[in-house]
Amino acid sequence: MKQLRIFLFVTLFLCAFGLPLLSATQAFLSVQVKEGQLRSAPSFLGSVKAALAYGDRVELIEDKGAWKQVAIRKLRGWMHMSALTTKKIVLQAGAADVQTSATSSELALAGKGFNAKVEAEFKNKNKNIDYTWVDRMEMLAVKPDQMQAFLKQGQVNPPEEVAP
């Protein structure tokens, strides 16, 4: 009984203090949005160098508040933390690592849970609900250079010092 307590205590202690040490050496994050923006600087004013795909694994290089400097393949740049998760994202159900993985706290299975299939079932049961304009809204995407032009044209000048 005493042994068990010591065992649990040591385990928890190492988990609490050991992990931060470990992650300082090498950590990976996953892109959790459809298209993650990789920027040239840690700010929304930084130009977008590339768009990373859902599930892409990036290596964490530097941590600067909400902005993370990351590397993937030959690319290096800054991403906002809202685009990233510490979980590994598996894009296909039934993939080998999903079977062997113990828990969803380390893995996120793309497309699981509330997904297109559930939406289709819901639609089927609620035929009065119309998705036409929800789909049309998706087409109204604005590109980063259009945003920059919009700010410039309207003489909206972001003060450098408060840029997140």
Partner: protein, 305 residues
């Protein structure tokens, strides 16, 4: 035996550090199984450890951005069943240029499929934001805006609700637990048809919880003040005048009739919001000055809406 146990005590927890705690569950399970095998702990204790580790892992689970996106789509569809879209392309394009730019300056610039904005063809004074990033503003509310800075304030307030996950918090707790339990089972295998049906039912319930809150009940006053607060930060980061919100609320205060549906029912009184903004953020009101080009594009797109 005693010495073996001692070595195990030192080695096994150390192995956790090597593998990292993200794999805590797997490792704990293995360690517990080993410990059980060498007679260090009895099987019932072993089971208890395994069980509690699973519980801890699940409690930190939440909806992924992808799932919030699907919740948002259906909330948007319900809203668009009750309200008609205003199909004026320049107005919607302007709203998306402005809104998506504002979202980039928020604390949550990246959501699964990005933010989208649409004007609703309604005289009611109202605005809605879904957890998936769809934001709606009625023509009635846009008529209270005298300049782009005011429109920016309205949109930034809605972005604030998304950033602060207010929509998700409107879902009843029991429903979230139900959903996450079913979803957790799915990570290991495909869902059986009855589980898909269960999940769809929970999904429908969640959509109802959110739309009822958005359309009928409104958020708490504190959520509204929090969204105003977030809006001020977004406006300042981009270089819009924080008084845009105060000015819009002043016009609203003059025009809002009590007993009206929409904002009058679901939001704190405009003057209360102005007081809160001015007291908490120390903003002293002065008239919003916007450059001519900015005013011109505002007038062209939504000035006569």
């Amino acid at each position: 035996m005693k010495r073996d146990s001692l070595i195990l005590f030192l080695l096994l927890p150390a192995s956790l550090v090597i593998f990292g705690c993200q794999t805590m569950l797997t490792v704990t399970e293995k360690v517990t199984t080993v410990a059980e095998g060498v007679g260090m702990i009895d099987p019932s204790y072993a089971r208890a450890i395994k069980k509690s580790t699973v519980a801890v892992s699940k409690s930190i689970e939440e909806f992924t951005p992808e799932q919030e996106y699907y919740i948002g789509r259906s909330v948007a569809a319900v809203i668009l069943t009750k309200y008609q879209p205003y199909t004026n392309q320049p107005a919607n394009q302007y709203l998306n240029l402005l809104g998506q730019t504002l979202a980039q300056a928020s604390d949550m610039p990246e959501i699964f499929r990005g933010y989208r904005f649409l004007v609703l063809n309604s005289d009611e004074i109202n605005a809605f934001a879904t957890p998936g990033g769809q934001i709606f503003v009625t023509r009635g509310l846009l008529r209270f805006c005298r300049n782009e800075d005011a429109v920016a304030a309205v949109l930034a307030h809605e972005i604030g609700h998304i950033q602060l996950k207010h929509g998700i918090q409107a879902i009843k707790k029991a429903r979230i637990t139900d959903a996450l339990t079913t979803i957790a089972a799915e990570s290991a295998r495909a869902l059986a048809p009855n589980e898909v049906a269960m999940l769809t039912e929970t999904f429908g319930g969640a959509i109802m919880d959110i739309t009822t809150t958005l359309i009928n009940n409104g958020y708490s006053r504190s959520f509204e003040y929090e969204a105003d607060n977030a809006a001020q930060t977004i406006l300042r980061r981009l270089g819009y005048d924080p008084n845009g919100l105060v000015e819009m609320l002043m016009v609203m205060g003059k025009n809002l009739k009590s007993g009206e549906t929409g904002f009058a029912k679901t939001h704190p009184a405009p003057q209360d919001r102005i007081d809160e903004i001015q007291q908490k953020l120390g903003i002293k009101y002065s008239r919003v000055q916007t450059p001519e080009t900015r005013q011109a594009r505002f007038t062209k797109a939504v000035g006569k809406i």
